[in-house]
Each structure stands twice: as C-alpha cells, then as structure tokens.
C-alpha cells in the first residue's frame, strides 16, 4: 500500500530551484533513506512530504488520514517556554501518563518524564522527540538527520532502535542521513538526491551473505561515488544547468 506518492514535484526558494521533478512513493512498512550532499534538498523533500513547504509544481498524494510522526533535525525550544518531558509528549494531543511512559521506553529513554526538556543531553532530547512522534501511532515516521550531535555508537544505537520500531509498530520510515554506512544496513531502499533523484538502490536486508553483499556493496559504492563527486564540483554545475534551462 502506498502511503505517500510524490509525482514530479518541484520546490523553489525564491529563485533558487531546490527540488526538480522528484517522483517518489513511500509504501507501508518500508524504510527509505535519503542521502545526498549538503544543499541537495533532502530536508526540503521531507518538509514537502509533511506539507510544510509549498510545491511549485507536481502533485503529492497522501493516503486518507495518514498519520505522520515527524522528528525534526533540530528543535529549538525557547528558554522562556517551560516544558517538561511529560508535557512535551502531550503536544498536540493529550496522552495518558502510561502511554507516555511506554513511548519513552520504546524510544529508549525511560525515566525522563519529570525532567525539563532544557536539561536533557543531545541524545536524550532526540529520543524524547522520537517518543513524541511515536505517540501519534504513526503509519509513517519521518526523521531528518535525527542523529546529528550523537557520537558513532549513539547513532548506531538510534538506528537499531528505528529498525526495531518498524518491527513492533509496522510503520514506514523515511529518513535523511549523512551516515551512509550506518543507515544503509537499516534501509529497504536508498534514494540518492541532488535536486533530483540521481539514483535509487534497494539493499535487501536479508541474512544470506552473498546476495546482501552484492546488492548492498554496489548500492554503497554508487552512492558514495556520487557523494564525493558532488562535493567537488557537480553541485555547482547542476545549478547552472537549471539556470540556463
């Protein structure tokens, strides 16, 4: 079942073209990872999917009543706004204390409920934001570089959590990440983005080693090659290409 379907969507910020003709479906229960260099429109794509940025053209179709859990890249809570963890979990919908406790445990951050959000460490903060997203019983969980500011073991931990959440909740996951090697192992599909979809890989996460290596190895190589390439010069050329058009 398709949860969200984007057909040829384009997004501009002012005169700059951020996304062009992106076509992408997210199906129930799959984990899709978006990779790409800085400024390639990864976050914009996610924001378009949650309806936070207007489309210049193209169509975005959501399943009726689709429940989305969104975990932003960074959440700044103004210091003048007092916010306990328990209260934060009840935004926007009130949840019972036991539901909040369960979600915190699912996100791997039990025993934080009475703390203030401002007192949490980076990792705890991200897990609480994840817990909040889980409370809406999402069919689609959208994570925007959710492991920023976490160390290697911390983010590996975080992604293992995401994988096990998919198992227990059955939700689809769409995420953006820089940490290719960590994320790829946990993904059903990898989208390489640079203003447009450059390539799509489908690394099957299965136990049988040779197949896994064949699929995943080539996927990683392709994405990494492109990734380096774009960092050097490709992105620049890409912009000009659109300006000329």
């Amino acid at each position: 079942m398709t949860l969200i379907s984007a057909k040829n969507i384009s997004v501009n910020h002012g005169n700059a073209i951020i996304l062009q003709n992106v076509t992408l479906d997210i199906n129930a229960g799959e984990i899709v990872t978006i990779v790409g260099p800085n400024g390639s429109g990864k976050s914009t794509l996610l924001r378009a999917f949650i309806g936070a940025t207007p489309l210049k053209s193209g169509t975005l179709t959501r399943k009726d009543g689709l429940r989305i859990g969104y975990v932003p890249q960074k959440l700044h809570i103004d210091p003048t706004l007092p916010m306990s963890v328990a209260r934060f979990l009840s935004i926007p919908l009130r949840v019972s204390a036991s539901a909040a406790k369960d979600a915190l445990e699912q996100a791997g951050s039990g025993a934080l409920a009475s703390r203030q959000m401002s007192d949490l460490s980076g990792g705890q903060f991200q897990r609480v934001i994840l817990a909040r997203a889980l409370l809406g019983k999402p069919e689609l969980l959208i994570l925007d570089e959710a492991t920023q500011g976490l160390d290697q073991p911390g983010s590996a931990d975080f992604y293992r959590q995401i994988e096990s959440l998919r198992e227990t909740l059955g939700c689809a996951v769409m995420m953006v990440s820089h940490e290719l090697h960590v994320v790829m192992a946990a993904s059903d599909r990898v989208i390489c983005l640079n203003g447009h979809v450059c390539c799509e890989g489908a690394p099957e996460v299965v136990a049988s080693a040779p197949e896994y290596r064949a699929l995943f190895g080539s996927g990683t190589q392709g994405a990494l090659a492109l990734y380096r390439h774009d960092h050097d010069h490709h992105h620049h050329a890409h912009d000009h290409e659109h300006e000329d058009a």
Partner: protein
Amino acid sequence: MDILDSFLVRAALAGLGVALAAAPLGCFVVWRRMAYFGEATAHASILGIALALSFSTSILAGVLIVALLMGWSVSTLSGRGYAMDTLLGVMAHSALAIGLVAVSFLQGVRIDLMAYLFGDILAVSRFDLLIVWIGVLLVLLLLWWRWSALLTATLSNDLAHAAGIDPRREQMVLTIALAVVVAVAIKVVGVLLIAALLIIPAAAARPFAGTPERMAFIAAGIGAISAMAGLQAAYIFDTPTGPTIVCVAATCFVLGGLLNLLKGRVAG
C-alpha cells in the same frame, strides 16, 4: 445600592479582567518573541482612535480594525528582506506618530490624549466594563480552544505542519486576540503600557513554572495581584493608576528574579 455604582469597584473589575486575558496571551508573546509585535499593535491603536473620532464611529471598532490591519501587514511583510524587529520598529513608531498627527487635525473634538496614552481606569463606565469583559471572555475562549495548536505552532512550524496544524492560522489567532486585548486595555493602562501588561506578568512567572499551562496561570495570578494592588496603591498615594499597576507588576518581576536567585544559591 448597586455594587457597580462605585467607580473603584468598576475600576477593579476592569483591571482584573484585562490582567486575566493579557497574562496567558502575554505568555505566547514572550515564547514567540513577539514583544515588539504587541507594542506595535498597541501603538497603532492611537491611529485607530483618531480614525474612529474623525468618522464618529466607536473607538473600539476603530482600534480593532487598525490593530488587525497592523498584525496582518506585519505578518505579510515579514520575511521580505527586513528583519522582523526592524519592520516592527518602523511600523510601531510610524503608526504612533501618524496617529498623534491625525489626532491634532481633529477640530471641534476635544479629546484627552493623556487618557488614551496612559489609561483612565477610574473613569470606566458600566458599559465600558461590559465591553472589557466581553473582550476578555472572547480572548480566553479563543486561547482555550486553540491552546494545543498554538503551543505546537510555537514549538515549531514543522511539527505543526506534520500534525496537520497550519501555523499561519495560529499566528492569525494570536493577532486577533492581541487586537482585542489592546482594544479593551486602552481604557485601563493606556496605549503606552499595554505591552507591559502582556509581558511583565509572563516574564515574572517564568522561573516558577515547569509547564506552559502553569506559567499562564501564575502569570494570570501576578497580573491580577498587580491590577488590584496597583489600584490600591494609586488610590493611597494619589499616583496615575495605569503606571502604578505596571510598577507593581515590575516589582513582582524583580522579587521573583531575586527569589529564584536565592533558590539557586541554596540548591547550588
């Protein structure tokens, strides 16, 4: 004898009403860093008063319309090349200046400008009181109804979008609430001090609150105490009422800050 016959009772009820509505709204003004926005709306109301007098319509209507226009134009213009505080600085003071000039053109109408700038709570009539409380109840109802959505949009526009809440609509809700509070608060504290009534109780409540709701309730308490004690003090010391109310609120802020500092010392 009707209890509302006493001008002091009417003043107290008007002050209490405005304080109760201004406090929770003021919390949003503080959380969203809209302090200057509140100021701009308040200053623009002088222009509303001038327009209302020259077209001989009700002052309330004039103020409401101009305050709403102000809110709408600031929301529309923001993000078009000017920083928000620059834009608001320009609009707030221009509106105030244009209003003051416009008032001076009004011939044949004798108006007491000071009453609008600093409030005239002791002259609140029964009808004024009715208007104040209708406005107060409207604002409180609006905030109660939209509370969760407003809070979500205040945390993050993206979180709001993901939850199906349109942050622009919530901004509009706040603009409307602000316009209503300004319109009814003019009589109580005057144009120049309305922003104080919004911001100071909320700021004073911050150190004692662990959740947004508690902050709003504590702010309402501080606002109510300021209104009552300010009225009392103004009566005893024969000082202007509006500024005295704000002085009491400011004292609460300072005492709260000191108390919090001491608490930190003891804990640390």
